[in-house]
Subunit: 320 residues, 2 copies
Amino acid sequence: MEHTWRCAITVADLGEFGIIARIVGRLPQSPTVLLGPGDDAAVLAAPGGRVVVTTDLLLEGRHFRRDWSSAYDIGRKAAAQNLADIAAMGASPTALFVGLGLPGDLPVEWLDGLTDGFRDECAPVGASVAGGDISRSEQVVLGVTALGTLDDRPPVTRAGARPGDVVALTGRVGHAAAGLALLQAGLPEAFPELSGAHRRPMPPYARGPEAAALGATAMADVSDGLVQDVGHIASSSGVLVEMDADAFPVPASLAAAGERLGEDPLEWMLTGGDDHALVAAFPSTAVLPSEWLIVGRVVEGEGVQVRGHAGAQGGWDHFR
Amino acid sequence: MEHTWRCAITVADLGEFGIIARIVGRLPQSPTVLLGPGDDAAVLAAPGGRVVVTTDLLLEGRHFRRDWSSAYDIGRKAAAQNLADIAAMGASPTALFVGLGLPGDLPVEWLDGLTDGFRDECAPVGASVAGGDISRSEQVVLGVTALGTLDDRPPVTRAGARPGDVVALTGRVGHAAAGLALLQAGLPEAFPELSGAHRRPMPPYARGPEAAALGATAMADVSDGLVQDVGHIASSSGVLVEMDADAFPVPASLAAAGERLGEDPLEWMLTGGDDHALVAAFPSTAVLPSEWLIVGRVVEGEGVQVRGHAGAQGGWDHFR
């Protein structure tokens, strides 16, 4: 006679509708959600008669690792990278929709952590997870869609930068890249602030609508690397962006991690993605709050130049 | 000296930004799309100040097979199942967002077919693919989000059916299930209409807003199986739905395929998903166009009963 010992309840034990009930039970809904989870589709308020939408696909092993990040941090990060795209339009996030692919043997506790991570990244910005979909999958798959509202503002695209504008940055750059390098080197505990930055970005959400109000002519979130994302602004706007390596003060933690790993911390700052900073062009007359660091200027021409730094031509391409 | 022969251009040859450019170049945008692909997020018009949203995750091997369906049909089906969820709220679809996970060795022609399938399923309903995301993946992964507009109508949820209402169906049921059974039996050519129904559903999109205008009290799309989806209406509304097996005329193709495979065609019609018919409750006074087939009635109680049929308690659970 064989005894089966179960150490943890799995998502397969719950079944599809049990999983949905469990997730929905942990998710408060924001006032924007007129009809939440449980029907064929959700209904959201769209003030001003427009809605901002972005989507990302996150795959286990490629975008996150369960042995490197907790379920809670994976949820926060998946939410953050989509909410940051909304902020980068000058908009305020309102809701997330999450398609979940889950292995049957996934412990329910892991699913709870993921759900709570989504919930807690959404709550401070006034958003909530308003719907989703569940499938069985070999590995964890997250299809995340974020919606947001511009109220009555025009969107800030990548295409409006003009010669004479200044280029300014808000939020961290290089931290997540350094954290990833430390995790890859097996040294996550050496600089917990940096490995933590890889696991859970802290996008400056409120700075997006602030930039719009300050008259930003173009904006992007830094997800592929600063030089590459500024390059998107440059190509969309038909301009050249000149940045100065001297404009970037290297934080002590990045300098120390760079020394430990034999890497150039400025390279992390200029080419590392995943911190989800915001970079924007402003008229030179704009008076920017201290959270915005001026790192360059817009001139006639095309592309991006970084003076005083030999590298920094790279960035992230998912297929290279 | 080694020679490498390449028979087809792959998505890895194009790279991430080449893939995006190729996809976007094949996608016309509908007037609802105020800002389309190419920025951090898209901006859509949301007439009436509300937006309807649904999302699905589709995984190769679980939701589709590349050896059973063409890329074009996979694109159409992935679009259709999301657009049908919008119609089931009484809304009109406006846009799709597609997160794509693609193997590096995928031929570009396959990607083109997929893109064209999405495009062609969207165009007749006035929607377009307004944004997306690309990642490398071991197998094809599709994270699809659909948006729609109610204009000034209230949404038709699953929760409003009342005793005395009639229950009516529009669109095909059982065809996709029969087609899947034929594919699994290695007989796709025996009934091409049915294997075709599995590959490409034909949801009756326009019937969704029509049902809302006719005063539908509750509605759902049939994706898990008619009995199960009517069960969602019953439980959300707190009522019992009685259906009659006699109400369902069995099409000749289903009868013939059932005989060939030794299956009960009525079982396919009552429990098979993936045709994306619409089922709705209406006041008994509603005058329904001939496309709506009355299949049951709403009474006090709970659950679903099918008179004259012994089976039909099943349906689809992604984790069973």
